[in-house]
């Protein structure tokens, strides 16, 4: 795993990003029991394969005070399918998402986090400090795993325990840098 970017225990970088719903969102929000920020995109089969599992986590943990944000930082110069317009069209086509779908046009947020792949999941506690980073679960091709690494980490954070493991290897397509 890359040693650049955030390490476990690091504070969440501040940033404000525009979402497909037209609103701007701060990454940090007061009062969240935990915040999940994951990188995704429109074209990568790994991101697409895990997408339903990630959406379901957002729905299942909403009442427990967990905030989930999806971020797309891919260059739309090399990958037009990841343009902001294409993101909006996708969310509309899919009948809306349970999470804001944020555009990191400058790629500065991906750089600050050290995001590597789509997907790449970062979970922060209420401080907000990084407590888990990696893949949602152990197999992009097995929906039955149900993002169990992500869920276990969230359960631990909400219950005041340390996620175990705190890091797994993110798996997916590399972020498409300019």
């Amino acid at each position: 795993m890359s040693k650049s970017g955030l390490m476990i225990g690091d504070r969440m970088p501040g940033a404000r990003l525009r979402a497909t719903d037209g609103n701007d969102y701060e990454l940090e929000a007061e009062g969240a029991a935990a915040t999940v920020i994951y990188w995704t995109c429109n074209h990568c089969p790994y991101a697409l394969a895990w997408q339903d599992r990630l959406h379901q986590v957002a729905r299942d943990y909403l009442e427990r005070g967990v905030r989930v944000l999806a971020v797309n930082s891919n260059s739309d110069e090399t990958h037009p399918a990841d343009s902001f317009d294409a993101m909006r069209e996708r969310v509309d086509r899919e009948g809306g998402w349970p999470t804001p779908y944020l555009r990191d046009e400058s790629q500065q947020v991906a750089g600050a986090f050290g995001a590597l792949t789509t997907p790449d999941v970062f979970i922060f506690d209420g401080q907000p400090e990084l407590r888990y980073r990696g893949a949602p679960d152990g197999d992009y091709d097995d929906p039955a795993l149900n993002a169990d690494w992500l869920r276990a980490a969230l359960d631990a954070i909400i219950e005041g325990r340390d996620p175990e493991p705190a890091e797994t290897q993110p798996v997916g397509c590399g972020i498409k840098w300019r």
């Binding site: 074209h43 990568c44 089969p45 790994y46 697409l48 394969a49 992009y140 091709d141 929906p143 798996v171 997916g172 397509c173 590399g174």
Partner: protein
Amino acid sequence: MDNRRDHRADQGRTGQRGLVTDAGRTEAGVTLYWWQGCPSWQRALTMVREEMDRQGLDHESLEVIEIKDEADAVRYAFPGSPTILIGGEDIQPPGPGQPTGLTCRVYRRPDGRVSPLPDPEDLREAFVKTYG
């Protein structure tokens, strides 16, 4: 009829089915193209080898070709990793106008899911269609 191809196929048989030429190279066998940016290629290779075993095909009929750069992608009209050709045909032919390049292949599963890997049944059917 392509007599030359049939002749080579007969010459190349090694006790198992598979089209291996005199030089030991695949003529119309199985080819897996991969790019290191997509980790599913190794599982795809395992799937192909296991299916070749089921079909009784010699692994010498399998070519594994790494797409190293954009020039390779253009040369092979590479629609993404992994791409699997059986008897020269893509097991899930890309649609017309699909761009080529260094990218990860999206496979549509019969149940509507998207995966970086082809459906095992689709792969099996492709083998049976060519070699069955």
